[in-house]
């Protein structure tokens, strides 16, 4: 009792030695030198300074939470032995109680007491036989006589012995009749909980997610036949929503945090620490509950709304029906969480004079501070460029070349001429956007890299014979694809994503390398004559990443058909107006996919037939 008082008065963290050994003996066993070394060294230095301690005993030894001695505590207690333990550790009287004795004799008695402490630490005793207080001194193993050889060994180590007491350990073991040095446990033993009970970590849980652990099946309880499920009981500490019955901890936690649950084992009986364990349970909060939705700053430079929707309708091909184009762009949770801006943008236009639809999406780099303006400018400038084509007749000439190519697709040179012209336009539009951003950067004392953005542009032309011509240009990630083609090939990926070894590595419009050579430009352009289609998509990686787990999946029309299968019913419900359809698309973009919280943008062109035919079956 006095030991506990001494401990609590000083309010020091740690546990007295006996209590520590209840749970921490394995810690000692794993690193024997850790406890023994510093203690022996300390006493040696204490003696060398011409003093005797007189209170080398467990009640004066405090072990810190990490398993090291509080030597300051021990030093301060020199000369004030624990009365209860005095008879065991100083059977002939301690240093302080016999001040008239010669220093050498008092130091000898310290050494004998130290031998007893070392004995206690080395041998440890089954937890059931150890108690926090030394109740029956006569029965206590420590009260028994020490092998003289053992004391002699400790003595020797203390006098002149090796710096590393580990080398003496084997000798000590032999002197104590312990055959094998304690082996380190196979698995790391968790530190004792604050209450000194051996702690047992349970698998982590998550708020709102079902949890189930069968305690007797845990490694910690393996082999203890008597410690069956039936007698296990727990007291307190369970998070709301979990219950314990017959060894089974189940339920759905409604609270997050770290929980300490006292488990009572049947075998050891009573309330002895040996029969109890401290179950440590971590319940993670549910990520969904942690997302914040903070508004972006409307007064900031390049401020923009957190969502955007667009739509238009135009002629179908072969003079039949109407093409509907809808688009939606939504700020991702990662940006909403910190009140950041949406870095994606989109654009769409129909140019009746030249006969071209121009569709764009752009995704500003998350790490670039003004990338939102980069994406906006990319879409706006590219749209403006192709709008100009209408005025100077270049668009019309492009449309004519396209018709020629569609009528004679096997004419390689005509195809080449068309492709070259497309490359020239796409490159000119992209460079115009880059120059515009350079000017913006200069005006705002920023760098071009502050405006990093990707860009996907699709030109779509209704052909006179009822077919369609599509040409796509892309820098960076995201994708454009078309599905619902009649014939053997049901869909086509129109872009090739720039990706690196790691996630998020890509190329930007704002980097020289993206358009460094004619070959680099040509590799970014794809064109196709489509006999017909149901839906043509342009998406940023906020949509393609969660939907397509790999580049292979991205190139598989089946995945795009599944995406269409999910979106089409929502659009059918809103078929009364393209505006309502764009809103429905924006709403759909709220879908939850763990780890995918980027901005999401889609531009979707739908042929007249796409909303009247049933959706393809979902795989």
């Amino acid at each position: 009792m006095s030991a506990d008082l001494a401990f609590s008065k000083n309010r020091r963290p740690g546990q007295l030695l006996l209590r520590f050994l209840d749970s921490g003996h394995a810690l000692f066993a794993a690193e024997p030198g850790r406890l023994l070394g510093p203690l022996i060294r300390f006493l040696r230095e204490f003696h060398q300074s011409g003093q005797a301690h007189g209170a080398v005993m467990p009640g004066r030894l405090l072990v810190l939470p990490g398993g090291d001695w509080d030597l300051e505590f021990f030093k301060n207690r020199a000369g004030s032995p624990d009365a209860l333990e005095l008879e065991v550790y100083y059977p002939d009287g301690g240093g302080a109680t016999a001040p008239d004795l010669a220093l050498e004799i008092r130091q000898r008695r310290d050494i004998r007491a130290l031998a007893a402490v070392v004995h206690l630490i080395i041998t440890d005793h089954p937890p059931a036989r150890r108690t926090r207080r030394v109740r029956k001194l006569a029965d206590h193993p420590l009260a028994q006589a020490w092998p003289a050889a053992f004391i002699g060994l400790v003595d020797r180590v203390l006098d002149a012995g090796p710096d590393d007491p580990l080398t003496a350990l084997t000798d000590w073991m032999q002197a104590l009749g312990v055959e094998e040095p304690p082996m380190p446990p196979a698995v790391a033993v968790p530190p004792a909980s604050d209450d000194g009970l051996p702690s047992v970590p349970l698998p982590n849980g998550m708020m709102g997610r079902p949890y189930a652990v069968e305690l007797p099946a845990l490694e910690e309880f393996a082999g203890g036949a008597a410690e069956g499920a039936a007698g296990m009981k727990i007291t307190g500490g369970l998070p709301e929503g979990l219950h314990f019955d017959d060894g089974l901890l189940t339920g759905t936690p409604r609270q997050a945090g770290e929980f300490e649950i006292v488990l009572h084992l049947p075998s050891a009986g009573g309330g002895s620490p040996a029969g109890r364990r401290m179950l440590q349970l971590m319940v993670n909060p549910s990520p969904q509950s942690l997302w914040k939705n903070l508004p972006s700053d409307p007064g900031a430079l390049f401020a923009r709304p957190d969502t955007d929707t667009r739509f238009l309708t135009g002629p179908g091909s072969g003079g039949e029906g109407r093409l509907t184009v809808i688009g939606a762009s939504r700020r991702g949770r990662s940006h909403a969480h910190v009140g950041g801006f949406r870095d994606d943008d989109l654009g769409m236009a129909w140019h009746p004079g030249s006969g071209w639809y121009v569709l764009t999406v752009a995704d500003g780099a998350g790490s670039a501070r003004f990338s939102r303006e980069g994406a906006r400018t990319a879409c706006a400038v590219v749209q403006a460029y192709f709008s100009e084509l209408e005025k100077d007749g270049a668009g019309e000439s492009l449309a004519k070349r396209t018709e020629a190519h569609a009528q004679c697709p096997d004419d390689a040179s005509a195809a080449q001429v068309l492709k070259s012209e497309l490359c020239r336009h796409f490159e000119a539009a992209a460079l115009l956007a880059r120059r515009s951003l350079e000017a913006t950067a200069q005006k705002n004392r920023a760098e071009l890299r502050d405006f990093h953005t990707t860009l996907i542009t699709v030109l779509l032309h209704p052909l006179a014979d009822g077919q369609w011509f599509a040409a796509a240009f892309s820098i960076g990630d995201g994708a454009a694809a078309v599905i619902g083609l009649p014939g053997a090939v049901s869909g086509l990926l129109l872009t090739r994503a720039d990706s690196g070894e790691f996630a998020g590595q890509t190329v930007f419009l704002t980097l020289d390398q993206s358009l460094a050579t004619p070959e680099a430009v040509a590799a970014r352009v794809r064109m196709a004559v489509l006999p017909g289609f149901k839906a043509l998509f342009l998406v940023t990686d906020g949509v393609s990443d969660p939907w397509f787990p790999s580049d292979t999946a991205l190139a598989d029309p089946a995945g795009w058909s599944r995406l269409w299968g999910e979106i089409q019913p929502l659009l059918l419900n809103a078929h009364d107006s393209p505006q309502a359809q764009a809103e429905a698309l924006l709403h759909w973009m709220e879908f939850h996919s763990p780890g995918h919280h980027d901005d999401r943008t889609m531009v979707l062109a739908m042929s007249p037939l796409s909303l009247s035919s049933p959706a393809p079956p979902r795989a």
């Binding site: 993670n284 780099a365 998350g366 790490s367 292979t552 919280h597």
Partner: protein, 213 residues
């Protein structure tokens, strides 16, 4: 699911024994507590802890924040600081644990590395040989913390993108450091840096930590 792998290399040589190591553990505990409140981190963060003294131990293989439980971290009495060997182990682990993008699957985000030491690498030659290998291992950011008076920032500068110093090795310093680490990691999950984009800006450090330029 794309993961954000974070590697923590901790000096556990003899000089860390006692209060410094206890403070580091407290700091890591606080860091994990903070990260568990961050939805990005909770969904995508994977953490590995490698300790180095005379031995190099992977005390925590790459484990999701959701599932991870803090391992036991201990210090020997005394002995050398094998940082070079630790970097060698690190490179092996990154190679085997971090998933790269392929045609068939999405890769992880670029990993982050935090190195904390209170001394000088004892295996200096190996350490110097390892620096270029670590630099080319794909880390989005390498941050080294020189803790206490004996750590030499000049040794760490060639390794790290950013060196920070901790003047004192007490609880406050380490807790601040790991809190800052968790803020840096959270920034990393929010804006996992593109390969060609500049690395994400570090949050401003608390007063106990000095950035070394």
């Amino acid at each position: 699911m794309r993961r954000l792998p974070v590697y923590l290399l901790l000096d556990t040589s003899g000089s860390m024994k006692g209060e410094p190591l206890e403070s580091v553990k407290t700091g890591i505990h606080a860091m994990l507590g903070g990260l568990r409140q961050d939805p990005h981190a909770l969904e995508s963060l994977y953490l590995s802890i490698i300790t180095f003294d005379r031995e190099v131990k992977t005390v925590l293989p790459l484990t999701s924040l959701q599932a991870l439980q803090l391992p036991v971290i201990t210090c020997p009495e005394s002995g050398p600081t094998h940082l070079g060997e630790a970097l060698e182990v690190l490179c092996q682990r990154v190679k085997s644990e971090v998933v790269l993008s392929t045609q068939e699957g999405q890769g992880d985000w670029r990993p982050l590395l935090f190195v904390m030491t209170d001394g000088v690498p004892s295996d200096l030659q190996l350490y110097r040989e390892m620096i270029p290998r670590v630099r080319s291992a794909g880390f989005a950011s390498i941050i080294a913390c020189a803790a206490g008076p004996k750590a030499r920032q000049e040794d760490l500068k060639p390794l790290a993108d950013q060196v920070v110093t901790l003047e004192t090795m007490d609880g406050n310093g380490f807790v601040s450091f790991f809190r800052w680490v968790s803020a840096s990691v959270a920034a990393g999950t929010a804006e996992p840096g593109g390969g060609t984009a500049p690395p994400p800006a570090l949050p401003p450090p608390p007063p106990e930590i000095n950035l070394v330029f």
